[in-house]
Symmetry: C2
Subunit: 514 residues, 2 copies
């Protein structure tokens, strides 16, 4: 029968930052003892890196020893090839000799030869060695990788094909196995992701093609869309291949993780399906969709264009303001821009020299009738949002400004504002997050030559718990404000309430005498 490696703690750690309660771990260890699983991969071993990462990312020896004394399974840890060199192995592996049976290496196929050296060194410590090689859907394009494959012979105990994008189909699995088999005579393994709900059929197909070990996790817990579900694989093996199975133990181990599933709710969804279907990094697609507000179509269109090497970017006239503007009000998407609208309007209205920059169109309608110059930042899906916000763009009097050419996700400008659309020449104050609303808005204030920059509706988020998307956006805006303050030495202040770390003032103090 096929061997199973359950890597719930290791791969599930992407959701919990590699911490798990003792209760969950104890149940997991106890009940897997009654299941036909061969290996438990319980974490990474890692050299210290910045920031907080939990127990199962570093896998302290006492914890490994504790698990070892309670499990009948062979234990596995994994190393990130990109972060580990031969000279690190003493430190990482000596303490776990006799406790851990197998050390796996997660690697980019481009680094195969370096990984072979690492594996040879690992074997001298007496461990079985598994290669977990990413991006199997792209291997056939990597000639060097294919040519070097023979070097894993005699080194790897298991050579794993990892469906990193969750986009391979059973026919691809067969094809890749044939390709690998033509070079490699070690035992093969398969690690499937579930973006397209194909992890089970791909794993069963791999098994039929002679693969000897399969990875899975309880409830599919794992990065993004997650993995082959251990309970599904075992149930299928029971029904299709007569595997003897203790369903009570299976139910108990699923129960152990159901609280975490309720909390983190991993599993596939449309963005993950799109990543899978198009072999794209799922984190990028989720970012584009949820924090960058790109529409699905623009992502897909851009990606198809990239594949077909079509230029999908229309070059617009470069934004070159005539003269300079002393004061700019940047209006964000927060509620503050709406709640304090009367005061902000009062502040703006009495000063025709103020230019308004709408970082988002969300609150723009409340400012539409002001006669000041108005500029709209068109990032990602914002062109579509603009069309929804303004019933009639026919009377549109402002300018729209897009990020610099070429734009990763193509160009969408509502047709009736096209004559007033420009693109930035470049974003000069930051290398990161260049295509965000805030980066675009701040760069515009800089290009306008503004001396005083007033932020409105940059409330920040305070819901607790903050959703992942808001957390990212907050961190990103903090970074951009910091960078801009260092860079520009202009007067920047928030004049409606904010939770960001920027100088604050009150819009009401500024109009008290009006």
């Amino acid at each position: 029968m096929i061997k199973i490696l359950d890597c719930t703690l290791r791969d599930g750690g992407y959701y919990t930052n590699w911490d798990f309660s003792k209760e969950v771990v104890d149940k997991y260890i106890k009940h897997t003892n009654n299941l036909p699983i061969d290996y438990l991969e319980v974490g990474y071993r890692s050299k210290p890196i910045d920031g907080y990462l939990g127990k199962y990312f570093y896998m302290p020896v006492y914890e490994l020893a504790y698990i070892k004394s309670n499990t009948q399974k062979k234990l596995v840890i994994i190393l990130n090839e990109k972060d580990v060199r031969v000279e690190d192995l003493d430190e990482l592996l000596k303490p776990i000799q006799g406790i851990v049976s197998m050390v796996r290496i997660a690697l980019d196929p481009q680094q195969l030869l370096r990984a072979v050296k690492l594996a040879e060194a690992i074997k001298t410590y007496g461990f079985e060695v598994g290669f977990n090689v990413m991006y199997m859907s792209k291997w056939k394009q990597y000639d060097d990788f294919l040519n070097n494959l023979v070097h894993v012979n005699g080194v790897a105990d298991y050579f794993y094909m990892v469906d990193s994008y969750g986009g391979v189909f059973p026919a691809d699995v067969k094809e890749t196995i044939a390709l690998v088999r033509s070079k490699v005579d070690v035992k093969l393994g398969f690690h499937g992701h579930n973006n397209l709900e194909l992890a089970l059929i791909n794993s069963l197909t791999a098994m039929e093609e002679g693969v000897e070990i399969i990875d899975s996790t309880i409830l599919g817990m794992g990065r993004g869309a997650g993995n082959l579900k251990t309970e599904l694989f075992l149930t299928a093996l029971n029904s299709q291949h007569g595997l003897d199975l203790n369903f009570n133990a299976l139910g108990d181990v699923v129960d152990a993780f159901s609280g975490l599933h309720e909390k983190y709710n991993w599993g596939t969804n449309l963005p993950y399906m799109i990543s899978g279907g198009n072999s794209l990094p799922q984190k990028d697609v989720m970012d584009w969709v949820t924090t960058r507000f790109y529409s699905f179509n623009s992502i897909i269109q851009a990606l198809q264009n990239q594949k077909e090497k079509v230029k999908d970017n229309e070059q617009l006239p470069v934004f070159k303001p005539q003269g300079s503007t002393k004061r700019v009000v940047v209006i964000g998407g927060g509620k503050g821009a709406y709640e304090h609208v009367d005061a902000v309007r009062e502040f703006i209205r009495n000063d025709k020299d103020v230019t308004i920059v709408h970082a988002s169109s969300k609150n723009a309608l409340a400012y539409q009738d002001l006669e000041n110059e108005q500029i709209f930042c068109l990032v990602g899906n914002e062109g579509h949002r603009m069309e929804k916000v303004f019933d009639d763009l026919g009377n549109f009097a402002g300018q729209t400004i897009l990020p610099p050419f070429p734009r990763k996700m193509g160009t969408y400008v509502p047709s009736c504002v096209k004559n007033n659309s420009f693109e930035l020449e470049s974003v000069t104050f930051t290398d990161k997050y260049q295509d965000s609303h805030t980066a675009l808005a701040l760069q515009i204030t800089h290009d306008l030559g503004a001396e005083e920059i007033y932020l409105v509706g940059y409330d920040g988020y305070n819901d607790f718990p903050i959703a992942e998307k808001e957390r990212q956006l907050t961190a990103e805006n903090e970074f951009l404000f910091n960078r801009f303050l260092e860079y520009s030495n202009k007067q920047v202040q928030a004049i409606t309430p904010t939770r960001y770390d920027i100088p604050m003032n009150s819009v009401y103090s500024m109009i008290y005498d009006k």
Copy 2:
């Protein structure tokens, strides 16, 4: 390209009792217009039946007309063959001529010939006719069905294979298609369930084998584990077959149902996987697991035994009490049995003639040391729970009583209480829910000849919203109490707080003079 029939409203209605808000329906209709879907099945048409069922179960003509005027898709309704006869068709179909394009018939394969007659009549009204034939995994065992298949030729426009149990694999799909093709020359369709996450690969396999129409629903919304997800199928067709696809419209239509998904949380899980893997009705498995408390192993064991025609039931001595017991205290699993334990013990302790019947072992420990006769109801998984509750069953002094022989899910009795285990001769006061804790406990009080029956810890549920499992259990207990009160004319009263409609008294009033 393959035709797609989206039946979200029809099949999703199992979760919403066939009501959907206007907002959801409007979004669904609007955005599907921009998707490569051919048919929308929007509901059942049904003759009036008892109880409340919503709009999309009856599908009023005004609603069909409203949808028709807003969609570019062909509309479909479905009839339940078991409830509809030829003479009903005038009433059901005349009003919808010209609005609906296709009428489908959901049928048990055993009723194929009756369905053919119905289909012939439906065709006279000018509709396309689809046969949705259930239980495809069992067809090869149904000789009559296979022999009669030729009669669908010239009658059915589409002949659908329905994977009712969600348990077929791609190889089964191929086999069944070949079988059907050998008899039938109409266009084939496939309706896949997702218990084993095989709906996509089965549908793609069916397509490769020449099936011309596939059913799917948004987010897979549908009974139990749900269906092939429309968004997954379209994404896969886009990536594998170059189907032109508006991902924004797809995102919008998924959004329309995401609130309902959050609320009802359909999708597969371990009990649904087990149903799929073993071709069992998923509702039964869920009932056994969640309200009957049978363990997975006992369900699987019993089912394997049933398949192999193994007698898995050990016959125990029949429970035949000597003489009669005037007073019985039935202790349920509610908190009341624990919170008021001192008073209940006081009440029992002073009267050695009281027999205690533990409907559940949950609260039994708090009564263990009393010297009264104690009887434990062993339904479903209760034997295992008993072992967990009592550290040491070695000193166990009571009797355990099981439902009458043969027990659907086999027999589990902890070995050390076996000598004190009996089974009921029969449950006489009810035909329904005979293997529930409450039915067993009440029947025991009857067999004991009790005149006075005191219920403790039958709190009922008041969490809002009540989970489905609790709702079922509440309805079931209400039914059993009613039935027992009618049947036995004994004095039955709850002496700790209860939300059930049974006579109430206070345990404190009964011990006030003690």
